[in-house]
């Protein structure tokens, strides 16, 4: 084995080249990790919004909650469904909800800046028991029958009046903000929750937009779907597993972000591998005599191959660590976009975790190996005579 200090000194001697290679590779790793974090964040926001134990009932064909409707009569029929779980007190865990889109002025916007479309969810008293990921983190729950609202944590501070103790004005009413809730990073955090009856009054609606319920067991959903289809007064409705519904909601946006992310990553990976190859080739061609000497004093071809691969890996690990470290800072930032399927603004977090770090590091090492392999091979295949004669 050629000692490791030899590799370290070699890299340190050609400092400019090493630094440029590391800078380039770590930028690539940074972007790669950011893409991973964002797609994880999108996944969190959508798939985690729902639970596989819950079902949502919407109008057949409705692509988002805001365009759906379930009449109060239909709701009463659904309430009696045997598939619905109940609390220990015997209250059925089923609630009608009213989801509307409101236009809110942005906090940093002037009078002419267009507002943002934010989802407002009117909830029933049992909604919070059904959606148990929702936790009030500041203030308290809005009281039923009032205009009080609570804000998802991604809404807090983003729009005019969106702070605890202030009030939001939409639909010609003032809505006092009494609480802020978190929901495990899900899309609910981009919504405003208030009392269902108050929202219905404000928007002059009678029917619910959708119904959410807790299933007794997982097979309950197919039984429920069967009964919806068979009952003529319920046949306009469709039952979804809640997590699958929210997942489907973000499909267009997610395929765009993931598609773009993949494209950018592939391009960067190619560029990074080419950059690493250029560097390693020059390492080899600058050290022909050294290689010849090493071979002449008895090191095998394999040892030479190893030494160059080792240098490539050292460069890539260092870049990987720098890139991942910078990317981890992104978890402080978030990313707010309009979901074209629901027409509401959703905020995603960059989700950092040990798995993201590992995948990004592995990616970095792979780039190093890809870039270093051919030059290392050509170094190993040199003939001693030619190598020692080189200038």
């Amino acid at each position: 084995m050629i000692p490791i200090s030899y590799s370290i000194r070699s890299l340190a001697r050609r400092r400019l080249t090493s630094v440029m290679t590391i800078a380039g590779l770590s930028l690539v790793v940074f972007v790669f990790a950011a893409m991973l974090m964002l797609s994880r964040g999108v996944h969190d926001a959508m798939a985690k919004s729902g639970s596989p134990q819950n079902a949502m009932i919407l109008r057949e064909g409705a692509t988002s909650e805001a365009v759906s409707s379930v009449s109060r009569d239909q709701f009463r029929l659904l309430q009696a469904s045997p598939e619905v779980a109940a609390t220990s007190q015997g209250t059925p865990l089923i609630g009608g909800e009213m989801v509307v889109i409101s236009n809110l002025p942005r906090i940093d916007g002037g009078p002419d800046t267009p507002g943002a479309n934010v989802g407002v969810r009117g909830i029933s008293p049992v909604s919070l028991e059904i959606r148990d990921t929702v936790k009030v983190v500041k203030g308290c729950l809005p009281r039923p029958g009032t205009l009080e609202v609570m804000l998802g944590s991604a809404v807090e501070g983003r729009y005019k009046g969106s702070r605890l103790g202030e009030s939001l004005s939409f639909a010609r009413r003032e809505w006092p903000v009494v609480g802020v809730f978190s929901a495990n990073g899900s899309a609910f955090e981009s919504e405003i929750w208030g009392d269902e009856q108050s929202v219905a009054d404000a928007y002059n609606r009678q029917a619910f937009t959708d119904v959410v319920l807790r299933l007794k067991d997982r097979v309950g959903l197919s039984v429920l779907s069967g009964r919806l289809a068979a009952d003529p007064s319920l046949s306009t409705l469709k039952a979804w597993r809640e997590d699958l519904f929210f997942d489907a909601q973000s499909e267009t946006l997610r395929s765009f972000i993931v598609g773009l992310g993949t494209f950018v990553t592939v391009i960067f990976a190619i560029a990074a591998a080419l950059g690493a190859t250029v560097t390693m080739y020059s390492q080899v061609s600058n050290r022909l005599r050294e290689i010849g000497t090493l071979r002449a004093i008895g090191y095998r071809r394999l040892a030479v191959l190893r030494v160059f691969l080792r240098e490539a890996i050292m460069l890539s690990v260092l870049s990987g660590v720098i890139g991942v470290a910078c990317a981890s800072l992104l978890s402080l930032a978030n990313f707010s976009v309009l979901n074209s399927q629901s027409f509401t603004q959703i905020t995603f977090h960059f989700h950092f975790g040990p798995d993201v770090a590992l995948v990004a590091l592995a990616f970095s090492v792979l780039m190093g190996l890809l870039g270093g392999f051919v030059p290392a091979l050509s170094a190993a295949r040199l003939l001693i005579v030619n190598a020692v004669r080189a200038r």
Binding site: V100, L274, G275, V278
Partner: protein, 380 residues
């Protein structure tokens, strides 16, 4: 031998390295053109929005409609020339990946207000004559191959049910959003609703006589309905579109950042190659100095080499970019439609040249300030 030619010879002295660097530049140029194309497609929608068109919608929420009865009242507002109304149809074509805008319009007035949407009189007449007819934008024709007589099946959401619209003609809009829109008749969708929900529209669009007076006309329209059950919000088409795009501002910012990162990576790869090239030739540069080359010449030689690499890489990338990006946009899920990479190929090559020049600068100065005695001694 002149200087550019000498630089070109130098470029390819280490063939593997030159080709790898050129390949890297080409790939990065493709990516750069792609990102700029996507961003331009977004922005073109705003740039082509007009300030002499006003959009009136329900003040409470985009999802709430306005009564059709407002139509006559808006028409009577002084300063308004023509008014039309349209509804967002929503719906799904095949599945949610195939997203494009679908509007139910009033065929008699729509094209008088949207004069930038070009449709032949024959196509318009055929559209008017068929209650279940439709007009499709050029971008959709390109993507899906729609032709006159085809039937487009949609699954309704806002207007529930299964819908079938016959293509009666195509139109050419002034931006990518219009070009990937589909129109059907407002009457057809209104008829499908229960009696109590009929006679509503999602937005009115008003063409004003004089763009300078748009704000006053907008205020006059909102004043008409200020105390009605359906308060309105009127803004210029520009502001309305901007409101939608601001929703995507984060994506645009991310794309801007990534484009800059691409250029930085290009700079690093090119800089690395140039640094190596100059370092290898230290002895030779000293020889050039001794035979009378001025430092400026050596700097120019290095810069020319940087330019050659980035020029070849840039052109290669620009040639590859068109088909690659065209292919990608076709399958991009409809988020970006009607965008073309052509506008960005020349700027991308120029930017690559600038990056090449910048990358060669530091190694170039090193070359020009080479210490003859030391360099010659090292070269033996």
């Amino acid at each position: 031998m002149n200087l550019p030619k000498l630089a070109l010879r130098n470029t390819f002295r280490n063939r593997a390295r030159a080709l790898l660097t050129i390949g890297g530049v080409a790939v990065l140029v493709v990516a750069f053109v792609f990102l700029r194309t996507v961003v331009s497609a977004y922005r073109s929608t705003v740039n082509n929005s007009r300030s002499d068109r006003l959009v009136t919608r329900n003040r409470v929420s985009l999802a709430l409609p306005l009564p059709l009865a407002d139509f006559e009242k808006i028409k009577a507002v002084p300063g308004a020339t023509t008014v039309t109304y349209s509804n967002w149809f929503g719906g799904t074509y095949i599945d949610s990946r195939h997203f494009f805008a679908r509007f139910a319009v009033d065929p008699d007035t729509y094209f008088q207000v949207f004069k930038d949407v070009v449709v032949t009189p024959e196509a318009l007449a055929a559209f008017k004559a068929d209650r279940t007819g439709s007009l499709v934008g050029e971008g959709l024709v390109e993507k899906y191959g729609f032709k006159v007589g085809d039937v487009i099946h949609l699954k309704g959401d806002i207007y529930p049910g299964d819908w079938a619209f016959t293509v009666r003609g195509t139109f050419k809009g002034s931006n990518s959003f219009q070009n990937s829109s589909m129109f059907m008749q407002w009457r057809a969708i209104d008829k499908s609703l229960p009696d109590t929900q009929r006679g509503t529209v999602s937005q009115y669009t008003t063409l004003v006589k004089d763009a300078d007076h748009s704000p006053e006309v907008g205020k006059a329209i909102d004043a008409l309905f200020a105390s009605s059950a359906n308060e309105t919000l009127t803004e210029s088409e520009e502001a309305f579109t901007l409101g939608f795009l601001m929703g995507s501002a984060a994506i645009i910012t991310a794309l801007d950042v990534v484009s800059v990162v691409l250029l930085v990576i290009m700079l690093l790869i090119l800089g690395n190659t140039m640094a190596m090239a100059v370092r290898e030739r230290t002895g030779e540069l000293a020889v050039l100095r001794t035979i009378g080359f001025k430092p400026n010449k050596l700097l120019a030689l290095a810069l020319a080499e940087g330019l050659w690499i980035s020029l070849i890489g840039g052109i290669l990338g620009a040639i590859v970019a068109r088909p690659v990006i065209g292919g990608f946009l076709k399958y991009s899920g409809g988020f970006v439609t009607g965008a073309s990479a052509n506008a960005w190929t020349l700027p991308a090559v120029l930017i690559a040249l600038a990056v090449g020049l910048l990358a060669a600068a530091i190694p170039g100065f090193r070359a020009s300030s080479v210490n003859i005695v030391n360099a010659l001694r090292r070269a033996e």
